[in-house]
Amino acid sequence: MANIIKIGMADLNVAVFPDILQTCGLGSCVGICLWDPVKKISGMAHIMLPSSSLGKTANDAKFADTAVPLLINEMRKNGADVSRLVAKIAGGAQMFSFYSSNDIMKIGERNVEAVKAALQSVRIRLLSEDTGGSYGRTIEFYSENGKLYVRTINLGEKFI
């Protein structure tokens, strides 16, 4: 039986076959999913903000730029080979449309950009993404086959 491991906001975790990683209600946050297809080890981070330069904090899982290396490290500890890792991402929506030009309101978009940059800097290939829009997503990542399931309220569900 596969266990479902839940990941909260600003948190990350690793699963080995056959377990499933899940995070509920991604809005402007981004779910970063990494997978080692040979060892069937998966990792997921739920980041809130693009860059650790925005503020000081003790939690590296909160920012795109610090969460990616931290997640890779955790996966390595569980036996994953970094050179084999591939990525899928989801989230980064803009939930509210304000008339203001305030940057924080475009946080979803900035989160997605930052995650892509962080993945690129460690040469991890992004296989697929379901990002942007103005709606929430719940995601499940399967260590068995690297499939990422995305569920929304009004726009159905799919695998990417």
Partner: protein, 205 residues
């Protein structure tokens, strides 16, 4: 607890007291707007790591309507007024003098009415906060989203996440006496705002 560990019981009590009076004003305004009797709970204050906030408001995947207002000024805060979708439709229906069916989505007018509710209750709440503290609270135009509670909270918490790893929430539950509508009103002060409010009313730690 980082930012909030220095808060004393006295300060939390004072904050709760201001919140109670603010919410009382909000309930009165809501009551007048709807022409119905509105009750309110005693505000509950909690300090939580971000990962626990969605569960504290009823689960990340729950379908809710959220009216979000950012408050500028010397003590910036965020206000999120959240309703279960059925309640949001009933409430909008009261104001529009119509009924939304079970499987009918809120239309533009209904959404606008709901935003206005957020606006009026926040305004009444902030007026009271302002007269207590002599601080200016400048609300933004409210924005509305109907979606998973967790997704709505992301945006609100991202603003607070810049400064720390915990959110302080003051929650007041407004409910119609007849029991058809319940709304959860959250005030989330940003990093140093609570200290500034305490300073303004002269309550030391």
């Amino acid at each position: 607890m980082s930012l909030y560990e220095n808060l004393s019981e006295t300060q939390l009590d004072a904050f709760r007291e201001i919140g109670t009076i603010g919410a009382g004003n909000g309930a009165t305004a809501l009551s007048q707007l709807m022409g119905r009797k509105i009750g309110m709970s005693v505000p509950a204050i909690s300090v939580l790591p971000f990962s626990q906030v969605p569960d504290a408001v009823g689960g990340a995947e729950r379908l809710v309507a959220g009216v979000f207002t950012t408050i500028g000024g010397p003590a910036p805060c965020n206000i999120l007024f959240m309703f279960p979708v059925d309640c949001a439709k009933t409430l909008a229906g009261y104001l529009m003098n119509r009924k939304y069916c079970q499987d009918e989505d809120l239309d533009e007018f209904g959404m606008s009415a709901l935003s206005e509710v957020g606006n009026i209750v926040s305004g009444a709440y902030l007026n009271s906060l302002s007269s207590f503290t002599n601080l200016e609270f400048v609300p933004s135009v409210p924005a509305l989203a109907i979606d998973m509670a967790g997704a709505i909270l992301n945006t609100v918490l991202a603003r607070i996440g810049i400064a720390g790893d915990h959110a302080l929430l003051m929650e007041t539950v407004f409910s119609e006496i007849e029991g058809n509508v319940t709304g959860h009103f959250f005030l989330l002060p940003e990093a140093d705002s609570l200290e500034k409010i305490m300073e303004a009313i002269g309550v030391k730690g």
